[in-house]
C-alpha cells in the first residue's frame, strides 16, 4: 500500500518534470534563504551586542569619572569641618588631584560664592563668583537643581568662568539641615573625551555622541560634532548624574553585506537542485520515448520483413540449433505447394524431398559445411513439389557459430530458379547461335579488312600520284608516296595544305570552275589537263582524273594525277617532226613526182608519135630521148636529195 502511494507520487514527479524541478527549486530556495535570514538576524544581534558592549565600556569610563568626582567632592565636604581651608585648601586640592587624575580642578563654594579653588593657576578668575545669582549665563539653574536633588549633580558642559569648556559637578553640603555650601569638581571637556578614548576625527566603527537638554533654553546641545546618515544599531543611555544622553551607533551595518554571498550561493544551489530534479524527472520519460521509438521502428522492421519475405520469390528460413527448431516463411507454401505441415518439417524430412540424384551430394556437402568453419552456405538442387514436379532451387544461408565452432543459428533463403535455369539453357543456345554469327561476322570482317587493305595498298603503292581531299575545305586528307615523290612535299606538308596550294596563282580560277563542276557531278570524272606547282616551284602539267567518295562520313574526292609534262613535250617534238615530214611529203609530191611525171609524159609522147608515124626512124626521136635521159637523171638527183633530207630528220 505504502509502496503504491509512493509510486504514485513518483509518477506525478516523472510526469511533470518542469513542475517537479520548479518545486524543488522553490523548496531549496525557501530553506536556503530562511537560513540566510537567520544568519542576517544573528549578524544584526552581533552588531547590537558590539554596540552595547562598547557602550558599557564608555559607560564604565564615565562612571569612573563620576565616581572619582563624587569621591573628590565627598572628601572636600568631609574635610571642610576639620581643616582650615583658608590655609590648607591648596594642599588638600593637590592631594585630591594627584589621586584622581581625571579631575582638573576642585572648588569650594560657600552660599553660592566661590571661595577656594585648586589649582589657582588658570582658575583664579572664578574666585568670588556667585553661582546662585548668575542670571547672565544661567548657571544658577543647575546649581539650584543640585540643591534640590541634594546629591552630586553635574552642570554643563558650558563656558567656564575661568575660560574653556568643562563640566562642573556640585555636591550640596548642608549645615543644620539647610544648604550651606557646594563641594565642586571641575572636569575640562578635553580631559573628559580623553578619558573616553574617543577621537571624533578618527575613522571609528562607532559614532559616539553626548547631548544634553539645555536647562535654560530647553534645546538639546551636542558636545561632539554631529554626524548623520548612519544605519547601524543605535544605543541611547540616559546618565542621570548630569541629565546627559549618551548615544552610540554602529556607523555601517555589515550584516547584509555578509549574508549576500551565501544568499547568492544558496540561490544557485537551489537552481542546480531544481534543474537536477527536472532532469531526474525527465529521464524516465526520455528513456520511455526512446524505447517507444525503438519499438515502433522494430515493429516497422518486422512488418517490412514480413511483407518483403512475402513479396520476394524466395522462401526464408531460420534454424535455431539450441532449440533444434526450424522456422520457414509462408513463401514455402506458394513456392512448393506444401500446406502448413511443411512448417513443422524437420531437416531429415526436408532432405527426403530432394531429388534422388542430388540428395547424396547435397547432404554430404551440408554435413561437411556444418562441421567446417565456413560462414556462407550455397547449394543448388532439385526439390520435389507437392504436385510431383521438381523445382530447381538455390539454397543460400549464413551460419552463426558458437565459440567452439558448433552451429548456433542458421539464416537463409531458398529460391526457385527453375525459370532461371530454363532461361539459362535458352541463353546458352542463343549464345551458341550468336557465337556462330559472330564468327561469320568476324570472317566477313576479316575479308573486308583484307579487301580494304588491298585497296589501301593500291592507293599507297600506286606508281601514279594519288590523293584524297575534302570537298568542303579542300584540305588534303591523304596522299600516296608517288604524290610525295612527284611534288616534293612531305606527307605532313601535304596534309597541312589545300589543293589550291599546289597550283600556280593563275590556275586558281580554272580550279574553281572545275570544283563547281565537280560538286554537281557524281562518280568518275576525267577532268583534263592542268598545271600544278611542285615544292621547288617547278610547274608540271598533269592529267587529272577524280572520283567522289565518302571518307569518314564527309564528302571527299579521290584524285589521280598523271604527270604529262614529258608526254606533252614528246607530242610537241612529234608535231615538229610531223611538220617536217609533211614538208618531205610535199617535196616528194612535187619534186619527186615531177621528173617521174615528165618521164611518163615523154614516154607517152613517144608512143603517140610512133603510132602517128610508124615509119619514122629512131634517130628522129633523139630529141625526146635526150629529154627522157635528162629527166631520169633529174629523178635520180631528187631521190638522192630526199634520202639525204630524211637522214637529216633522223639526226635531229
Amino acid at each position: 500500500m505504502e509502496k503504491i502511494k509512493s509510486y504514485r507520487y513518483l509518477r506525478i514527479f516523472y510526469r511533470f518534470p518542469v513542475i517537479s524541478g520548479l518545486l524543488g527549486f522553490i523548496t531549496a530556495l525557501f530553506l536556503g534563504q530562511l537560513i540566510t535570514l537567520k544568519e542576517y538576524q544573528i549578524f544584526l544581534d552581533q552588531e547590537e551586542d558590539e554596540v552595547i558592549s562598547y557602550s558599557s565600556l564608555v559607560e564604565d569610563k564615565i562612571s569612573t569619572v563620576l565616581n572619582s568626582s563624587y569621591s573628590a567632592a565627598a572628601i572636600l565636604g568631609f574635610l571642610h569641618e576639620r581643616v582650615d581651608f583658608e590655609r590648607e585648601f591648596d594642599i588638600i586640592g593637590e592631594e585630591i588631584l594627584q589621586r584622581l587624575p581625571y579631575i582638573d580642578a576642585v572648588q569650594w563654594n560657600e552660599e553660592g560664592v566661590i571661595k577656594y579653588v585648586y589649582p589657582m593657576e588658570g582658575n583664579a578668575a572664578s574666585i568670588g563668583f556667585d553661582v546662585l545669582n548668575d542670571t547672565i549665563t544661567h548657571k544658577n539653574i543647575e546649581a539650584y537643581l543640585a540643591i534640590e536633588k541634594d546629591e552630586l549633580y553635574f552642570a554643563g558642559p558650558f563656558e567656564l568662568k575661568q575660560g574653556g569648556m568643562g563640566i562642573v559637578g556640585r555636591l550640596p553640603i548642608n549645615k543644620d539641615g539647610n544648604f550651606w555650601a557646594f563641594s565642586v569638581v571641575i572636569i575640562r571637556l578635553e580631559t573628559f573625551f580623553e578619558l573616553l578614548d574617543y577621537d571624533p576625527k578618527a575613522n571609528n566603527r562607532f559614532y559616539v555622541q553626548f547631548s544634553k537638554t539645555n536647562p535654560s533654553t530647553g534645546i538639546e546641545e551636542f558636545f561632539l560634532p554631529e554626524e548623520k546618515g548612519y544605519d547601524g544599531f543605535h544605543y541611547v543611555k540616559k546618565i542621570n548624574d548630569g541629565n546627559w544622553t549618551l548615544s552610540i551607533q554602529l556607523k555601517q551595518s555589515e550584516a547584509l553585506k555578509r549574508v549576500l554571498p551565501p544568499l547568492i550561493l544558496r540561490f544557485l544551489v537551489s537552481l542546480i537542485i531544481g534543474i537536477a530534479l527536472y532532469y531526474l524527472a525527465k529521464l524516465p520519460s526520455i528513456l520511455q520515448k526512446e524505447v517507444s521509438r525503438k519499438s515502433k521502428a522494430l515493429r516497422r522492421t518486422i512488418r517490412r520483413f514480413n511483407m518483403a519475405s512475402e513479396a520476394i520469390s524466395e522462401a526464408v528460413w531460420e534454424w535455431d540449433f539450441s532449440k533444434n527448431k526450424i522456422y520457414r516463411s509462408r513463401n514455402f507454401v506458394s513456392l512448393f505447394g506444401y500446406k502448413l505441415s511443411f512448417f513443422k518439417m524437420n531437416q531429415q524430412m526436408f532432405e527426403n524431398l530432394i531429388h534422388p540424384d542430388d540428395r547424396v551430394q547435397t547432404s554430404a556437402r551440408f554435413k561437411e559445411f556444418l562441421e567446417g568453419n565456413d560462414k556462407f552456405w550455397q547449394q543448388e538442387f532439385r526439390f520435389l513439389k507437392e504436385n510431383g514436379d521438381y523445382a530447381h532451387v538455390l539454397d543460400k544461408g549464413i551460419l552463426q557459430r558458437n565459440k567452439n565452432g558448433s552451429p548456433r543459428k542458421f539464416f537463409g533463403a531458398i529460391q526457385d530458379i527453375t525459370l532461371l535455369k530454363e532461361r539459362e539453357l535458352q541463353l546458352v543456345k542463343l549464345n551458341q547461335k550468336l557465337d556462330l554469327r559472330a564468327k561469320e561476322l568476324q570472317l566477313a570482317f576479316l575479308q573486308l579488312e583484307d579487301s580494304e587493305k588491298r585497296y589501301r595498298e593500291l592507293f599507297e603503292l600506286s606508281p601514279l600520284p594519288m590523293w584524297v581531299y575534302d570537298l568542303d575545305t579542300l584540305k588534303f586528307l591523304d596522299v600516296n608516296n608517288a604524290a610525295i615523290n612527284s611534288y616534293g612535299f612531305t606527307r605532313e606538308e601535304f596534309l597541312a595544305k589545300t589543293i589550291e596550294e599546289i597550283r600556280p596563282i593563275e590556275e586558281i580560277p580554272v580550279l574553281e570552275k572545275e570544283l563547281e563542276k565537280r560538286k554537281n557531278l557524281k562518280g568518275f570524272i576525267f577532268s583534263g589537263n592542268f598545271r600544278h606547282k611542285r615544292k621547288n616551284g617547278e610547274l608540271i602539267e598533269v592529267e587529272i582524273s577524280s572520283n567522289k567518295i565518302i571518307l569518314k562520313g564527309a564528302p571527299a574526292v579521290l584524285v589521280l594525277a598523271v604527270d604529262v609534262t614529258l608526254r606533252n613535250k614528246y607530242i610537241a617534238a612529234i608535231e615538229v617532226q610531223n611538220t617536217k615530214l609533211k614538208e618531205i611529203a610535199w617535196i616528194q609530191s612535187h619534186v619527186v613526182r615531177a621528173p617521174l611525171a615528165r618521164l611518163v609524159g615523154l614516154v607517152d609522147l613517144l608512143e603517140m608519135e610512133k603510132i602517128e608515124n610508124p615509119d619514122r626512124s629512131v634517130a628522129s626521136f633523139d630529141e625526146l630521148f635526150t629529154y627522157i635521159r635528162s629527166s631520169a637523171n633529174e629523178l635520180d638527183a631528187v631521190i638522192k636529195e630526199i634520202i639525204e633530207k630524211t637522214e637529216r630528220i633522223e639526226l635531229d
Binding site: 612535187h590 613526182r593 615528165r598
Partner: protein, 132 residues
C-alpha cells in the same frame, strides 16, 4: 570564138610535153609558153584581154614564183576576168587541191603525168565555160 592558151611551167621539158599534148588535143595550135608566172602576168597586162578568154595551164611547184603567188597577184592586179586556169601539178597532195579550189578562176586540175584525154577533158571544161 577565139581564145588564147598560156602554159606556165618552170621546167622546159614539161613545157614541151604540155605544148605538144595541147596541140595534139586540138585545143589550140599555138599555145604561148612562159618559164615563170611573172612573165605571163607581164604579157597579160601588156596585151589586155577584151572579149578574148585566156586559158592558162599553171604549174604549182615553182621555187621562185609559185602557182599560188601567181594566183594571188592575178587577183590583186584585177586582170583575172576572162582568165581561166587549169592547174597542172605532179602533187598528189590533197591539201594543194583543196587550196586551189578556193580560187574562182581555177576550173580544173590535172595531175602529171597526164594523158591526152586529161587535157582534152580539161579543155572541154574551158570551152563550155566560155560558151556560156
Amino acid at each position: 570564138m577565139s581564145y588564147r592558151v598560156f602554159i606556165i611551167d618552170e621546167h622546159e621539158i614539161d613545157l614541151i610535153i604540155l605544148r605538144r599534148t595541147v596541140i595534139k588535143s586540138g585545143l589550140h595550135q599555138n599555145p604561148r609558153l612562159f618559164r615563170n608566172g611573172l612573165q605571163a602576168l607581164e604579157h597579160l597586162s601588156l596585151n589586155p584581154v577584151i572579149n578574148e578568154p585566156v586559158l592558162i595551164f599553171l604549174d604549182i611547184y615553182m621555187p621562185d614564183f609559185s602557182g599560188y603567188d601567181f594566183l594571188e597577184l592575178l587577183k590583186t592586179l584585177k586582170i583575172d576576168s576572162q582568165v581561166h586556169i587549169i592547174i597542172v601539178t605532179s602533187s598528189v597532195n590533197n591539201e594543194d587541191k583543196k587550196r586551189m579550189s578556193e580560187y574562182e578562176n581555177v576550173i580544173s586540175y590535172v595531175h602529171k603525168p597526164f594523158k591526152l584525154e586529161d587535157i582534152q577533158r580539161a579543155g572541154n571544161l574551158f570551152l563550155e565555160e566560155i560558151s556560156r
